[in-house]
């Protein structure tokens, strides 16, 4: 009975601590989606793959989104012609490299400020490496879902355009809207069409505020439920699993990292709040494994695989997953073995 009480106190404490950060993350990602035009940003970013990867992974400072908000933004970036290195760098790093997550990690690991810098540093390093690997693939279209791929410009010299966009202003069958950036087809999926257009043009501030609130509510509803599951798992693991098992697992430099990466993948907790979750393991697990949890979780987890599949084909998601997992494992193992931290 007392174990149950203990578990419930833990569970509620995680919820109470994480809710403010979840709200903050949801608010920023909604404002971003409604108010910011990414096309202008893309115009200013470098085309060199390495530079694009670096700037993409730092984009999160401007777009504080968690791993649920980053997929739609990365998709919009790709569809608006951003270099693939930029989009991939953003996709992997943005959930971690942003002010809200920085602050939350700082609060959670007040006794170990180094954790914050290791987390951000390793995330940027891994994201840039993977983004550079992906930039070798000049044409991203085979990696993307067809609905997204058809928006991407071909890297080869443009074939003679058929009807639209050149001299002729005649509308072809299925045409929908003529825009400065091209033509939107009526027969395309609604979601892709919405993603490709600038968010809600010509709206009054009142409408925009309404849209932001609407979206905040929608994201809070969904992510709040995920947070509840994550907190419940964390509390159960702490209370129900025999302590000796966890200690054995948590003290090995390799087993601890593998265990925490698996946990990060399964729990799928939002990056704005995952540091509080990890904190509950910090006294028994190696520092490298806590770092692995904090770096790997926001990149790929069970929850955002389904989100990634709305944009990327399965093959690309597997590449992302394998690369991110291997790099996280190797780098955090190096932290465990070669640093005294």
């Amino acid at each position: 009975m007392s174990q149950l009480n203990q578990g419930l106190t833990l569970f509620l404490s995680l919820l109470v601590e994480a809710t403010p950060f979840l709200l903050l993350g949801v608010a920023f990602s909604s404002m971003l989606a409604v108010l910011v035009d990414e096309r202008k940003l893309i115009a200013y970013t470098p085309k060199n793959p390495v530079l694009a990867a670096i700037s993409g992974s730092l984009f999160g400072c401007l777009f504080p989104v968690c791993e649920c908000g980053n997929v739609p933004v990365a998709r919009r970036l790709l569809m608006q012609g951003a270099p693939s290195a930029l989009a991939i760098g953003f996709l992997l790093a943005a959930p971690t490299v942003n002010p809200i997550v920085f602050w939350a990690t700082w609060i959670a690991f007040r006794d170990q400020p180094a954790m914050v810098f290791w987390r951000v540093g390793l995330t940027i390093l891994i994201s840039v490496i993977i983004a550079c690997v992906f930039s070798v693939q000049k044409d991203m279209r085979p990696f993307l879902q067809p609905a997204i791929a058809r928006y991407l410009p071909s890297p080869e010299p443009k074939p003679e355009p058929a009807l639209v966009g050149s001299g002729s202003n005649l509308l072809s069958g299925g045409d929908f809207l003529l825009q400065s950036t091209g033509t939107l087809k009526l027969d395309q999926p609604m979601m892709a069409t919405l993603g490709a257009t600038t968010a809600l043009p010509q709206q009054s501030w009142r409408d925009k505020a309404q849209a932001v609130l609407e979206m905040m509510l929608q994201e809070f509803r969904e992510l709040g439920a995920v947070l509840v599951f994550g907190s419940a798992i964390a509390a159960t693991v702490q209370v129900a699993i025999p302590r000796e098992w966890i200690l054995d697992l948590g003290q090995g430099p390799i087993t601890s990292i593998l265990a925490m990466m698996l946990l990060a993948w399964v729990v799928s907790i939002c990056s704005t709040v995952d540091s509080f979750f990890a904190l509950s393991f910090s006294s028994i697990f190696t520092s490298g494994s806590i770092l692995a949890f904090l770096v790997f979780g926001p990149m790929i987890d069970l929850k955002n695989i389904s989100l990634l599949l709305t944009t990327f084909k399965g093959r690309a998601v597997v590449y992302l997953f394998v690369l991110a997992a291997q790099l996280t494992f190797v780098l955090t193992l190096a932290v465990n073995l070669y640093t005294s931290w």
């Binding site: 509620l12 609060i107 690991f109 006794d111 006294s283």
Partner: protein, 250 residues
């Protein structure tokens, strides 16, 4: 009848979920139980979130009888869980949170978490210097931090001690020993870890049942307890005190 027919049910559930979540957070604040869950430095975050959620609930409540079609940007959202599931989970937790009274961790939790050694396993290493406090003013956590820096018990012999904490009866100790302990919090109850010092009583420890709160005044001495040389409090006075408003130390 007309009003009921135009009631927009999705908005009703949203409103309820938001209001109840907000109230849950605010209720912990009003009832003073927030201290059981959270470090006092972060209470304002939880309270602020409570007000924001209540505000969002009220905003959503306005649309109860005036259905607005979901805006275009909201339509682009990719749902992971079906909307009703998420709502039901949120509602259920809010109702539970409003009913349940969280309790601070107690002696059995401390025993389960392993309190015995002041030098714990991979306890997060504090990367700051603790200030030097005179022995009589040290709290339990100050004593443990001092011991972590310099663990030789003889160095503290005859120093005055005055600490408050809850009682633990470690099963392997004799009946005239108990432990006075506190949970230490960095951020929230999830990272709470117990610290404690042994007390050698003149009588039987049954006088102070587990989880009761005591204030101990006395002097430090070194003893061999459970095969280990340890710093032990030789009390001049042990008083039963009420549970403090904030049961944790920081």
């Amino acid at each position: 009848m007309k009003r009921i027919r135009t009631l927009y049910w999705p908005a009703v559930w949203d409103t309820l979920a938001l209001l109840l979540w907000g109230l849950m957070l605010l209720r912990y604040w009003w009832s003073g139980r927030l201290a059981v869950l959270l470090h006092p430095d972060y209470h304002w975050l939880a309270i602020g979130a409570g007000w924001v959620l209540v505000g969002m609930g009220l905003w959503r409540g306005v649309t109860l009888f005036r259905p607005t079609p979901p805006s275009a940007s909201a339509g682009a959202h990719i749902a992971l869980l079906p909307r009703q599931w998420s709502l039901m989970v949120l509602l259920a937790i809010a109702v539970f949170g409003l009913i349940y009274v969280p309790r601070p961790f107690a002696s059995d939790a401390a025993l389960a978490r392993g309190i015995a050694d002041p030098v714990a396993l991979t306890r997060s290493q504090p990367q700051q210097f603790a200030r030097q406090t005179p022995p009589a003013e040290r709290s339990l956590i100050d004593w443990i931090r001092t011991l972590n820096v310099y663990p030789e018990p003889d160095a503290y012999t005859d120093q005055p001690v005055n600490v408050t904490g809850f009682v633990i009866h470690p099963p392997q100790w004799d009946d005239n020993y108990l432990m006075v302990a506190r949970f230490v919090l960095t951020c929230c109850a999830a990272d709470a870890y117990p610290v404690g010092l042994p007390v050698e009583l003149t009588g039987d420890r049954a006088e102070f049942p587990p989880d009761s709160w005591i204030s101990v005044q006395g002097e430090m001495q070194t003893e061999t307890l459970d095969g280990q040389r340890r710093l032990v409090i030789a009390p001049q006075e042990v008083l039963t005190v009420p549970e403090p408003k904030n049961p944790y130390e920081f």
